[in-house]
Structures are given as C-alpha cells and as structure tokens.
C-alpha cells in the first residue's frame, strides 16, 4: 500500500540538508506552508537557497526562517512588500543574496524544471536590466531572451486536501505556485488541512497528481474554514479574529 502520509510536520521535513535549494509555495500569506516552514526552522537546516515569489512578510513563516539566518540566497520576483522588514534588514546588511526574476519568468522557469524543458525563449524582460547577460534572439520579428529551468531539492507546498497517494487540491488563490513547485523539486512535501481517503477526491479536480508528491502531512483546518466550508472570522493574515472586518486598503 502506498502511503506518503507523515505523522508530523517534523517527520515531513526530516532529512533536509544544509545547503539545500528549497521552493516554498505561496504568494504573500495565501498558500504559504507556514507549519512546514516552522518545522524547518525547528529542524535546523542552514545555508538554504529559497525560491518563493516574495521574501517573507511580518515575523512569521518565511520571514522567521530569514530572521533565524538560515537562508543564504533567495530567488524571487517581489521582495519589497510593505512589511518585508526582515528581508530588508538582511539585504541591506549584505547578509542575504538576492536573485530577481520577473514573476512570469520565475513561474515558467519552475514549470520548465518540472516539465523537463532544457531552456526557453521568452519576450519578457527583453531590454531591461533583468535580461542583462542573457542570450538574445529575434524570433518571428520579436525580441526574446533565453531562460533556464529552476530546479530544487525540496518543495514545501500548502494544499487544501490530499489523499495518501499525494493527490492534492488547493483552495482559491492559495493554489498559486504550489502545483509547479511540486513538479520541479526532487522531493515534495505538502501540508494540507486534512488527509482524506483515497478516492475521496474527484479525479477530474485533482490539481497536483500524486506522481509529484513525496510526503503529505495534515496540519488541521485553517481558522477561516469549518469542514471545508468558508466561515470567515479571520483577518487578512489568517489570524483568528471574530470581528475581522474589511480590507485594510482604504483605496477600495
């Protein structure tokens, strides 16, 4: 019987080596595998290269990993968020290396790694500093730059439900980088709200197939859900807050 289910987040991240390249899912807070990151912090691996769209925000999750000095380099598209002060401080102190990629190129490079593509020509970034030093080619009259796949040793991903084979479904925009990172890493660890019976996920709706997943761990339902249904009562960071009200963006 195949079972990729781990009894704890500690076992789910066991064996991650110093110096590993780790993809971490999420876009801002949505889809960030906070419990796995906390376990990785506990686990102790150092000198990590992290691939994520952002560079952490606030003091938890990826920001906590950065604050603990575990990350040597980060590859991302948008490290400058209103509350990315942990990264800011490390970067200005020269204590973390940054590789910046346009978001779509970041996503496509991750996708290429999972799909076995050796390199690809993209129009994105041509004529900008992010194309500096990259091979250039005119195809069908349009300027392109050559980009290479981004592989990783591990991917830490946050899903909604999974079965013991590692079939995963996500929830809303928390899907973001999870599916492509799961395919691009040598070893993929997925945290979910709940592990369900094999066969409980409609095969038409599986987003990440078990073939891409090595370990699954249930971390309990998020505060804004009850048995999979949305009940509200959280703030935008996902913290329980019965009086959580509207978007804090005054412009909306």
């Amino acid at each position: 019987m195949i079972s990729k289910v781990c009894p704890s987040v500690a076992e789910a991240v066991a064996g991650i080596e110093d110096g590993a390249t780790i993809m971490i899912g999420g876009f801002g807070r949505a889809g960030q595998p906070v419990e796995l990151i906390d376990a990785l912090l506990e686990q102790g691996a150092r000198e990590l290269v992290v691939i994520n769209n952002n560079a952490g925000n606030g003091n938890t999750g990826l920001a906590a990993l950065l604050a603990a000095g575990r990350v040597r380099k980060i590859i991302c598209s948008f490290p400058r968020q209103s509350d990315s002060y942990v990264f800011d401080r490390l970067y200005r102190a020269g204590r973390i290396e940054l590789e910046l990629a346009p978001q779509g190129t970041l996503a496509e490079r991750i996708r290429a790694a999972g799909a076995g593509i050796g390199a690809f020509f993209t129009p994105t970034g041509f004529g900008t500093p992010l194309a500096a030093g990259k091979e250039h080619r005119v195809i069908d009259g349009r300027d392109h730059v050559l980009e290479h796949p981004l592989h990783a040793d591990y991917a830490l991903v946050s899903g909604h439900l999974a079965d013991r084979w590692g079939n995963v479904v996500y929830r809303k925009t928390a899907r973001n980088f999870g599916p492509i990172m799961a395919a691009a890493a040598q070893s993929t660890v997925v945290q979910v709200d709940r592990v369900v019976e094999l066969g409980a996920i409609d095969p038409e709706t599986v987003v990440t197939a078990g073939i891409f997943v090595d370990r699954v761990v249930g971390v309990g339902e998020r505060t804004w859900l009850r048995e999979g249904a949305f009940v509200g009562a959280a703030d935008a960071e996902g913290n329980p807050n019965p009086s959580a009200i509207e978007s804090r963006d005054e412009n909306r």
């Binding site: 876009f27 800011d88 779509g104 129009p123 004529g127 500093p129 973001n176 599916p179 492509i180």
Partner: protein
C-alpha cells in the same frame, strides 16, 4: 506659459479609464492606483478581471466578516469571486499574459517614453531594493498596455519623456497613457493628445513636459484601445 490645474483626481481618472473598457474585455489592473478602475466599472457591465496570482473574474473587497485569506489579489488584499470565476496556477496565469490573451492591462509608471517604453519597477537608486513582480510580464503580454499616472511627479518632473532614464520594464509596449491632465496615445511619431481634462491645453502640456506633442483630437487616429 499656461499653468496647469491639478486636473482629474485619481478616482475621476479611474472612471475615465473605465469608460474605455469594452464589455467582455479581460483586464488586469496591476496593483496600486489602477485597481481603482474596478470600482468605476458599472455593476451590469461584464468585464473580467484577471489577477496574476491565479484568478479570473475577481470581485471587489469582501464585506465585513467575510475576509478569506485564501482569496487575495496581486496587491495581497482580500477580494471576492464573481460568477464565472476560475482559478489556476502561476504558470498558467502568466501564460495568459505572455500568450497575449489579456485584452487590456492598466499599470502605474515612473516614466513613459515617446517610443512606448515603460519604466515602472525601479528608480535605479543604489540603495533601493529591486522588486519587479509581474510588471514586465504584463508590459509585454497584454494586447493593450495602458498607463495610469500623474503627468508630473510631486516635484514637477514630467513622467512623459523622450527617453526613459530609469531602468525599463518593457520596450515599446505602452499604447496609451491616462494622466490627470490628458489622455495620450503613443503613435509612431510620439505622443498624441487624445483628450484634454479641465483647463489643460496642448501648449500647456508641451510646456510642462518639454515634449513635441501631436494633436490627436483633430488628426483622426486609428482606434487603438
């Protein structure tokens, strides 16, 4: 030299932009000021909003008590879902951009050149932390790339320029610029004034920007939404 008034407010400009978005368009409003355009689209006009983090048919901010942290926009603010919505992963989301499937995107800008070059991600300052997000993908991807911006910076420097001095986001990609003073089309010859707001005149705009401006109000332009 004519003095320019303050021109349209951001909300007024957003409403003006919304008027130019045909029903049925798929539109990405980036982050920041352009997201105001969403509020200016009438409820009964079906415009499909794309957000780069994997969703089509994004709706407005949630009502109190209904924040879903799994449902956010590119600016990482809580949003909602409209009927007809769909979710997809990041590679598929940017395939929509790069593949030319978005009809319109509206972006902010530091500078826009006469050739349609866009600079909106980095001031080039040595101590700035560079962050590009999806700006370069949007700039080269949408069928029509519109900029929403003030004509001048707070210190009076024009954002419309002959050549960008800031690092570029995309080359020759902008098709139209909506400013608080006027709407400009970018045509092979440079900036053409399509519409003036308030007391603005072409002479005043030319004087404020130091640019040679064509009058797009009298020379009929091909419709380049």
């Amino acid at each position: 030299m004519t003095v320019l008034s303050s021109g349209l407010s951001r909300r007024e400009l957003a409403a003006r932009i919304a008027l130019d978005i045909p029903e049925g368009s798929v539109v990405n409003l980036g982050i920041g000021a352009p997201t105001l355009v969403a509020d200016a689209i009438p409820e009964d006009v079906e415009v499909v909003l794309h957000t780069e983090n994997g969703m089509l048919a994004m709706g407005p901010a949630p009502v109190p008590g209904h924040i879903d942290p799994d449902l956010i926009n590119a600016g990482k603010q809580p949003v909602t879902e409209r009927p007809g919505a769909s979710y997809f992963h990041h590679a598929d989301s940017f395939a929509m951009m790069r593949g030319g499937h978005l009809d319109i995107c509206v972006l902010g800008a530091f500078q826009i050149s006469e050739q349609g070059d866009l600079a909106n991600w980095h001031t080039g300052a040595a101590d700035a932390i560079p962050a590009v997000g999806g700006a370069m993908d949007l700039a080269i991807g949408a069928k029509s790339v519109w900029v929403m911006t003030d004509l001048l910076t707070r210190d009076g420097t024009p954002k419309l320029v002959t050549q960008c001095t800031y690092p570029l986001t995309g080359v020759g990609c902008v098709t139209r610029v909506y400013t608080n003073q006027a709407v400009f089309d970018i045509i092979p010859a440079g900036f053409a004034v399509r519409e003036l707001f308030g007391t603005a005149t072409i002479d005043a705009l030319a004087s404020a920007t130091g640019l040679h401006l064509r009058d797009g109000r009298v020379v009929p332009l091909a419709d380049r939404p």
